[in-house]
């Protein structure tokens, strides 16, 4: 198909727009916002790709998806081939196609970016992954790997652990994932809401791994139910991908008032424990006026969730300006369309409450940007004499998370950074023989694809380690 197009024709194709639910409607339901491309749209978008020899986009991808190759297959309408290429490099493409910050990774490097917008690599990834989920019968082939007789334990079923497990199972190793919560997926399940990443997708990805032979045991807290040492004795190698689940507190007066949540609790109640549904007993406070403190993906998810739970006024309070917000651009745009109010260059000073211990307001301080700090971003500085109050009945703290010490506290010989993250070399190996780690527990709060990249990287290192110790 593509072959019939001239360069001029290719350059004339405009970047596709993702069809999405009407903003007014979707701000009151939990159905997915982005509706996905249809086949015609996908093929047309794929035709925009120039098939660059140097493949700059691939350099931006932490798992090195062969982007031009899968896109070419789409352009030719050969979806099974596109799916085979994509799945060979990416264990969770339907997830990445929805939540990866493509604008900072592959798409930012796309040569078409400057003139007419980069090829919509993320949308195409999502399209192909969704097609693959609906057509498993067209993807069979490839015989199961030879069992290696080696066993590997994986701590945590987030993107790092799942990727790791999938890679190793594909190499014939026997893999068992231990997960502390009662369900799989890590942040994909308990953090990222249904309207961005339907849980059905996480279920399908997990099932695919189980079909590969990966076994998953929920309700096992490594460090409490079993220790790292016990796992090391029982298995030939261990991978730790337990994330960065420890909320950083605001350390403000009023933080313990009723109606003040950490984003982790707020989102867990909704996403993992179904508080958004009417037929589920999990309680949550439905605020009329909700303030979410922070500017990352977590903050956007919390504020849009508040809106969907019925908030009339849902506010993002962020101490820098929009340019410094770490959230994905698409999420910021969607949030605005859904009527989220952004109060920028403002920081909370105190959470106000009533006699009964309920939140009633937030006292804030206006800020301006000063000199760049260690993060390279301009530092927020208070403007003297500019405090103001907001009337709110729910406050959600989304200022970040740190490494959870539960596992590491019971593994005294494991080498940690001063911040409590696990230290590894560039293959993912820790200082303990046969123990590897990756994802947020190593990097601090990062992204899905970086966690997956770590999983993939460590899988190769573990495979080599197991072969060496044969």
């Amino acid at each position: 198909m593509k072959k019939n197009l001239s360069h001029k024709e290719i350059m004339a194709i405009k970047r596709v727009k993702m069809p999405e639910q009407d903003a007014q409607d979707r701000s009151r339901n939990f159905k997915e916002v982005n509706l996905g491309l249809n086949k015609e749209q996908a093929i047309r978008e794929a035709q925009r790709c120039l098939q660059c020899k140097s493949q700059p986009c691939v350099d931006g991808c932490p798992v090195r998806v062969r982007i031009p190759e899968f896109i070419e297959a789409v352009a030719e309408g050969d979806l099974p081939e596109a799916a085979r290429i994509l799945l060979a490099d990416n264990t969770l493409p339907a997830v990445c196609g929805r939540v990866c910050p493509q604008e900072d990774q592959c798409e930012v490097l796309c040569v078409r970016g400057a003139k007419s917008g980069p090829v919509a690599i993320g949308y195409l990834e999502r399209f192909v992954a969704d097609w693959a989920m609906e057509h498993p019968e067209e993807l069979t082939g490839g015989k199961p790997p030879q069992p290696s007789g080696k066993s590997v334990a994986v701590v945590g079923s987030g993107p790092a652990g799942l990727t790791m497990a999938g890679e190793l199972a594909g190499m014939g190793h026997s893999v068992t994932i231990f997960e502390a919560l009662h369900d799989t997926g890590g942040v994909l399940r308990y953090g990222i809401p249904e309207f961005r990443l339907p849980k059905r997708i996480v279920d399908l990805e997990v099932t695919r791994l189980q079909n590969l032979g990966v076994s998953i045991e929920c309700n096992v807290i490594v460090g409490k139910t079993v220790t790292l040492e016990e796992l090391s004795e029982e298995f030939d190698a261990v991978f730790i991908g337990n994330g960065a689940g420890l909320p950083v507190m605001l350390d403000l007066d009023g933080e313990n008032l009723k109606g003040v949540y950490s984003a982790n609790e707020y989102l867990t109640r909704v996403n993992l424990m179904g508080a958004w549904r009417n037929d589920v007993p999990t309680p949550i406070i439905h605020g009329r006026q909700v303030a979410v403190i922070g500017g990352g993906n977590t903050a956007m998810d919390a504020v849009r969730t508040a809106r969907r739970l019925g908030a009339e006024r849902a506010i993002i309070l962020y101490r820098r300006s929009e340019a410094e917000m770490p959230a994905r651009i698409e999420e910021i745009k969607h949030a605005k369309e859904e009527g989220i109010e952004f109060i920028l260059l403002a920081a909370p000073l105190e959470i106000l409450g009533d006699e009964q211990g309920w939140v009633t307001g937030l006292r804030c301080q206006k800020m301006e940007l000063g000199e760049p700090d260690a993060s390279g971003r301009r530092r927020p500085v208070p403007i003297p004499g500019t405090t103001f109050e907001l009337e709110v009945d729910v406050v959600v703290n989304a200022i970040g998370t740190r490494a959870n010490p539960l596992l590491t506290a019971t593994a005294p010989n494991l080498k940690l950074s001063p911040k409590g993250n696990i230290e590894t070399d560039n293959t993912g190996a820790t200082n303990l023989p046969g123990v590897f780690a990756g994802g947020d527990i190593v990097r601090g709060g990062a992204t899905v694809i970086l966690a997956m990249g770590d999983g993939k990287n460590a899988a190769a290192a573990i495979d080599a380690y197991l072969k060496k110790n044969d």
Binding site: N219, I221, T225, P247, N256, P283, N404
Partner: protein
């Protein structure tokens, strides 16, 4: 899946459950708890591990039905399984050889107290146990506690068993007796009871340890929902506790945070069929 092997009624709506959970049974230490998620989509309920048998691979829980989720747990018949049980969670009790120790339990708190009292006695302490309840049927485990206690003192509000009054009355008498005055006190029960015990012992400077019961979600320090204030510092009860020095606890805050979902819970209880509603005992505030 976690099979229920035994399910007995000890008092109105207080059940003893023996459950197969080999990993937890093996790892568990005194003072720790589990979190049960009784049904898909439901709440996660923290419950103290009262006893464990690592050989048999079982744990024992005492559960009081106070709401829909605990009702679901006590309603699980022998042979059926509970969907999810995670643990053991929390810190282990720091057992010292204090000498004379008083263990004070109120209502179902008595069940939480039981493994603690036993561990204290095993460590060579002379344990005096005080248990209180509204009326005779609510007094549980008196015989089991008697096996290792110097004496079990019982108080009921209506005088239907033991002395009429509160546990604090009995504790005051103990403290006033120079022969029996304890060096340490462990108190577990409704928050107002624990607070009253701490207020009583504070002027005497007797070490008083309480086991806190805030609302919990994950139990692993991930959500911060269980935060309590200890000596003016915010702590997560699930990882830093659940036991704390009672003289440092901000009880007013704890009590307040426990009322967070009262309206929503009352509504859920109201939606239960009448015969189930009757099964839920009114928790005194």
């Amino acid at each position: 899946m976690f099979e229920v092997l035994q399910n007995d009624t000890l008092a109105p709506n207080v059940h003893r459950l023996v459950i197969r959970a080999p990993r937890i049974a093996k790892a568990r230490k005194s003072g720790q708890f589990v979190i049960i998620h009784p049904e898909k989509g439901g709440e996660r309920i923290p419950l103290t591990i009262a006893d464990a048998d690592p050989q048999a691979g079982t744990i024992t829980l005492f559960v009081q039905a106070v709401g829909p989720s605990t009702l679901k747990i006590v309603g699980t018949p022998v042979g059926d399984s509970l969907q999810d049980i995670a643990g053991p969670l929390g810190k282990e009790t720091e057992i010292e050889r204090w000498g004379k120790v008083a263990c004070v339990g109120g209502g179902v708190g008595t069940a939480v107290l039981y493994p603690l009292a036993k561990a204290l006695a095993d460590a060579g302490n002379e344990v005096t146990t005080i248990i209180g309840g509204r009326a005779k049927p609510f007094i549980i485990l008196a015989d089991a506690l008697a096996e290792f206690s110097r004496e079990v003192l019982i108080t009921t509000e209506d005088g239907s068993l033991g002395k009429q009054g509160f546990v604090t009355n009995a504790l005051q008498e103990l403290i006033d007796d120079p022969e029996l005055c304890p060096q340490a006190i462990f108190a577990v029960g409704p928050v107002p009871m624990m607070r009253a015990v701490c207020e009583l012992t504070r002027p005497y400077g007797i070490k008083t340890i309480v086991s806190l019961n805030p609302i919990m979600i994950d139990g692993t320090g991930m959500c911060g929902g269980c935060r309590v204030k200890i000596d003016n510092e915010t702590k997560f009860a699930c990882v830093d506790g659940p036991e704390f020095d009672g003289h440092q606890v901000d009880f007013a805050l704890l009590m307040d945070r426990l009322t967070m979902y009262r309206e929503q819970e009352a509504k859920l209880v109201g939606e239960l069929p009448p015969e189930l509603q009757k099964k839920i005992i009114k928790v005194k505030k």
